[in-house]
């Protein structure tokens, strides 16, 4: 038992949502007769959900800073239609289309960020207005019709890593990516361990680090195998690559840079942050701006995959992104959350969606189940925390820069009320 505790980080608190995710995958593997973990299905899953996960990256930063963004679906749709139109009417090449999309996202983000950060209007209101405004703008510019996009643009949404090099029966580039990831994991894992020992900080024994690494690498290698053995012409999808790069970049920014610190500081205690010299208005402005840029990107990827931009794109995306962030352990009051946590939360939703679909469950029932899962996940976590036991979410991500969730620190009277009632 002690060994398991060590594995999960000193106490039994690190089961986390990863445990839930694994349990879900195992459950669906069983219920769908093994279909969920086939190469074609996992590729489909990444293709179908990567844009939501990209939104979740931006959204978690917004929520950590203490705000929320309800406009992302509409902004994504609006950027999608504008990019489609400019490529069609102005004959822009695909890469210029992407530039237009990102710049437009930045302009929208600056507009909303200005109102939130410098005029002081709650983000809920500003982005609610944005949600309406940009949905209308999408329908206005596109005249409520779908606008197709050129084939070379579709690459970012529907493309795959090319077949390169000798014929190994696998997609070589995917294999390469997988091996690089494994190598990086091992190198950084051991380096962190050595550094912690040198500092004299609280260090987990070496066997714990190694076991964790072995498990992680095994998972990565298995995933690499799945992606590399898809139908000919498919491999690890390009949107997945884009997502991966963004996760690495933003995870680093959130955990290791000064701007990341500022975001957590502003979300954790705005006044204390300001009095410590943090430029809180600038921080607010940047997270809102960043969200819109990522929304633009997500919109473009979706359009690229659907081959066209339509008037009903992006509907409901904000809710999926927000659900992913909260399942992943963020706090409603801000100051808590991680990029990786949100990815796991998003994957939980994605696997749920995908698995239920494979089981033939209708979208109505799926919706009901997703809602209940979101509720159950957070309630279960709160309950566990109040019992003084493991938090199923939360401290899991502490090493990657996460925080203990204050929402889940139930007020003392309530905590004991729950205990005596059990």
């Amino acid at each position: 038992m002690n060994a398991i505790k060590q594995l999960f980080g000193g106490n039994t608190r690190q089961f986390g949502m990863i445990f839930a995710l694994v349990a879900l995958i195992v459950f669906f593997q069983f219920m769908t007769g093994g279909v969920i973990l086939t190469p074609d299905n996992v590729i489909n899953l990444v293709n179908g959900y990567s844009y939501i996960l990209i939104l979740a990256i931006g959204m978690v930063l917004v929520i950590i800073a203490g705000h929320i963004d309800l406009s992302v679906g509409s902004v994504a749709a609006f950027v999608g239609i504008v990019v489609a139109l400019t490529m069609r009417d102005w004959h822009l090449p695909w890469y210029m289309g992407i530039v237009v999309g990102l710049v437009l996202g930045a302009l929208i983000g600056a507009w909303q960020g200005f109102f939130v950060a410098y005029v002081g209007i709650p983000a809920f209101i500003v982005t609610l207005a944005g949600m309406l405004l940009f949905r209308g703008a999408n329908q206005y510019f596109g005249k409520s019709l779908t606008v197709p996009v050129p084939t070379d643009f579709q690459f970012i949404g529907a493309g795959y890593l090319n077949e390169v090099g000798p014929d190994t029966g696998y997609n070589n580039l995917t294999l390469l990516v997988g091996f690089i990831i494994v190598a990086a994991l091992i190198w950084s894992g051991l380096r962190n361990h050595r550094k912690a020992v040198a500092l004299g900080a609280d260090v987990k024994p070496l066997w714990v680090t190694i076991t964790k690494l072995v498990i992680l690498c095994a998972v990565v290698l298995y995933a690499t195998y799945l992606f590399a053995t898809g139908r000919p012409g498919t491999s690890f999808p390009v949107p997945g690559i884009i997502l991966g790069v963004l996760v690495l970049a933003y995870g680093f920014i959130a955990a290791r840079t000064t701007i990341g610190r500022h975001i957590y500081a502003v979300g954790g205690n705005r006044h204390a942050a300001a009095l410590s010299g943090v430029k809180s208005k600038r921080t607010d402005f940047l997270v809102i701006l960043n969200m819109a840029v990522l929304a633009g990107l997500a919109g473009m990827i979706f359009v690229a995959r659907s081959n066209a931009s339509g008037p009903s794109d992006g509907v409901g995306w904000e809710l999926d992104a927000i659900a992913a962030v909260f399942i992943g352990g963020a706090a409603v009051t801000g100051g808590v959350g991680t990029v990786v946590g949100s990815m796991i939360g998003g994957l939980v939703m994605a696997v749920l969606n995908n698995g239920l679909q494979l089981m033939g469950v209708g979208s109505d029932m799926t919706q009901i189940i997703k809602g209940l899962v979101l509720l159950a996940a957070v309630v279960f976590d709160v309950y566990n925390k109040s019992q003084g036991k493991a938090s199923f979410i939360g401290l899991m991500m502490k090493k990657l820069g996460g925080r203990d969730n204050p929402d889940l620190a139930v007020a003392e009277p309530l905590r004991d009320a729950v205990r005596t009632e059990s």
Binding site: A201, G260, R261, N269, A273, E412, A417, T420
Partner: protein
Amino acid sequence: MTKTSVLESDTLMPSANPIILQMQSITKEFPGVKALSDVSITVRASEIHSICGENGAGKSTLMKVLSGVYPYGSYDGEIVFQNEVCQFKDIRASEHAGIVIIHQELALIPELSITENIFLGNEPTKFGIINWDDARLRTIELMARVGLSEDPDTPVKEIGVGKQQLVEIAKALNKSVKLLILDEPTAALNESDSQHLLDLIRGLKGKGISCIMISHKLNEIEQVSDSITIIRDGKSIETLDVKADGVDEDRIIKGMVGRTLESRFPEHTPKIGEVFFEVKNWTVRHPQIADRLVCKNSSFTVRRGEIVGFAGLMGAGRTELARSLFGRSYGHYISGQIIKDGKEITLRNVPEAIKHGLGYVTEDRKTLGLNLLDDIKTTTVAANLDAISKRSVVNLGKEYEVAEQYRKQLRTKTPSVDEGVSKLSGGNQQKVVLAKWMFTDPDLLILDEPTRGIDVGAKYEIYGIIQALANQGKGVIVISSELPELLGISDRIYTIFEGAITGVLNKSQASQESLMKRMTAAKKSA
């Protein structure tokens, strides 16, 4: 205003009164922590019983057990109130029995009126409809008993914190209280409001209402208590009968820390240099009220190695002065100059203030000084991230080193710097906040109520830290409402009254009387 004469309350002779409350062998555990261990306390009728102890000793926990915040079943031990065994399952149950607790953070809703607050949770209803006329009349009656004469419809946020405290007591009286528990009742009050409150409590005693008071203000405890129970590390150490045992402040301190403190303030030989920081004609307007000035033409100086005290009543404008100087973080700047090292500087925002070598330790560390979600190491570096970052990337190794260095230097009591600051006691939290500012290496450090809510032992350590900073040639400004504290550590003290500086006294000239005179009068010729 009811005022019982001293003679009247003397004749009640508390030690002979019947026992109304007996808490026997109370043990309360949280995961990993034994907050109370076999604590017993006995309170008699018409008695003021104080509970003293260092921060984290268990005083508030004990009161939460008594008032039902921690319900029956979540603790071991027995509570007997008015000869009945009590098994309170929530606060309502204890209030029903006649025990009312007034917390340190007042439980009033700022936007609601005095009437609405007094009857909160207790509204006079008939078939669910509230009878506000009745409530209003009763409110006027209750207010008279505590000495308030406001309009009962006034929103509570508009009356001062002293009067808010009285509203809380009126609320308790409305619940037919027999045992009133007051947690740090005068912590946020000035001298005159504190006295008024203490007189009121004495008056309640005369009317048969017993009172349990938790406080750090030993002079007040000495003044009003009949008995004192001292709690240390979750155990009840001793109970003193104030009259019979001849208890004074030193005796209480001895019980609290387990040893006599030879002196409250460390020995210090000031090494004072030249004037390096000067403020001239500083005038600031209130942020919302257009015709109110919060700083009126204030001018003062600070020398290198000097500890300058700022004395004044609550609301006199000391914090406003400090915050407006610190990057204009309060109010609207009207006019005035800041001169540092002979050069005039403009501090338009907090980052500029920090860059020019100013630091400001806020008055309320929990709301303004700390992000309670953070751990110690993150907090320690928070005001000077650039020093441990290269091209915006934070060096986690350096962060750990810096935090460790300050942990050792300030003797912060914590298992490691990875510990969350919310888990620390008040004194240790304050040390982390001090570390945060020390890491910015300021030339002038402004400390606003640096030892508020901190126990005697930790205060001593903080005074030592302040003196060490002065010894390094820095200027330190200490704003405090505790005159003995200011007299103990300052080299010079400025007095402020209603936004204006009314005088400055050297350590040798200063005394509680001379300070108080200037704190309560308009500026004469300095």
